[in-house]
């Protein structure tokens, strides 16, 4: 049976992501088994993949690379087999070329860009923490049915600087535009936490579980 692999590499939001995926699946009737796993073979054969992540870029990258074969298995599934992939927060940032939090850390290089500290306008605190509105730039299947003026929960000090604006599916305004959702081919990623964004976030997860990229 088809299954979604939720990658377990020690990320703090793993359980919240699991609960939200299960709730979204049952609310939307998505026929999708969810396996929480760190097993490279399970990831290689998965039909969908969700990569959570929270905290430091370098720590997350290190934690993921400490699991034997995991990064290669992700590449085989997401790039070679083109299965639908959803990265959350640092899980999304890892899709970039590199992270610049406490030195330079290579990412997966799936999406061209760097993850750099938010340059805040005067009077705007960092971390960017709280609910902010989404400006949608793509009519993407994962972003359907979010309602009028959708708001989601952000908590981050670093953000993705994309090389190609064609990869930008949604942004948010924090003095300047901040990358909120990236999308290319079979991949999506959110800087915010859908698992903490009440109905809007659950709807995105439900959309993802039904998504068949062409």
């Amino acid at each position: 049976m088809a299954y979604l692999a939720l990658i377990d590499y020690g990320s703090g939001n793993l359980h919240s992501a699991e609960r939200a995926l299960r709730t979204a699946a049952s609310a939307s009737g998505a026929a999708c088994e969810i396996h929480v796993t760190a097993d490279a073979d399970m990831v290689r054969r998965a039909d969908r993949i969700v990569l959570p992540g929270v905290g430091h870029y370098a720590d997350c990258a290190k934690g993921l690379r400490a699991v034997p074969g995991l990064e290669d298995a992700l590449g085989e599934a997401v790039i070679d087999r083109a299965v639908p992939f959803f990265g959350i927060c640092v899980g999304m940032q890892l899709m970039a070329d590199r992270g610049l939090e406490d030195g330079e850390t290579p990412g997966f290089g799936w999406i061209q860009g760097d993850v750099d500290r938010i340059k805040a306008a005067p009077g705007l605190p960092v971390p960017h923490m709280g609910w902010n509105g989404l400006q949608l730039h793509q009519d993407h299947p994962v972003l359907q049915g979010l309602g009028e003026d959708p708001h989601v929960y952000f908590t981050h000090s670093y953000a993705m600087q994309l090389k190609d604006n064609g990869d930008l599916a949604a942004s948010t305004d924090y003095g300047a535009p901040i990358t909120a959702v990236i999308a290319r081919d079979n991949m999506v990623g959110t800087q915010f936490h859908p698992e903490k964004s009440q109905r809007v976030g659950l709807q995105m997860l439900a959309n993802f579980m039904a998504w068949r990229p062409v």
Binding site: F154, T155, S157, S197
Partner: protein
Amino acid sequence: MLKTRIIPCLDVKDGRTVKGVNFVDLRDAGDPVALAKIYDEQGADELCFLDITASHEGRGTMLDVVSRTAEQCFMPLTVGGGVRSAANLVELLRAGADKVAINSAAVANPGVISECAAKAGSQAVVVAIDARKSGDSWEIFTHGGRKPTGINAVEFAAEVERRGAGEILLTSMDKDGTKSGYDIPLLKAIRAAVDIPIVASGGAGKASDLAPAVLEGGANAVLAASIFHFGEVSLADARAALAAAGAPVRPFEPQKVK
């Protein structure tokens, strides 16, 4: 534009809410999970649990409350009370908290702040500062506001930011329980000292008290307990009052996932 967060706060002892709670249609007002669910449905932007359990055994109970809440409420959850170490923080985050508030331990040993930030990232580390006016400045109190420390609150706020705190939960001991509005001069003084988000706490008595904390005091979020628990102010009232005064709030309409 980032919106002002409205945060109901629940005091929890041995797994039960302690401050009086008076909700119509709620069979067990002592159950923090049931209350959390109501606030979730009403569109709270975040929830805060303060664990005032004294005993060691109570900690496990709190983890269970956090875990059961996170199973049903898909919103940010801050948990504070009795957090002494990065290990305490990690177990609360694993249970489903998104942020952990450190109070007495951060004052006794500020190094714990950097330890926690290194372990889980600044965004997960809140330092709760309880301050009381003392002459021309504000002094920090710990142990639920009982113990004076002689530490200047404004200087301490700058220090916790340097050490990696991602947010300050600022409670005015002078205003707490008075229902006379938030402590605007205190908020302004801390705002001038730090660039991280500030949650205003202590003194909310009516919906119109919320906006000055944001617009004058520079707070990024407003926390309140009794006005919400007793139904004096609904979350919809709070949103409307903030919006009317010019503080941006999140549009909220209950809808189901399709």
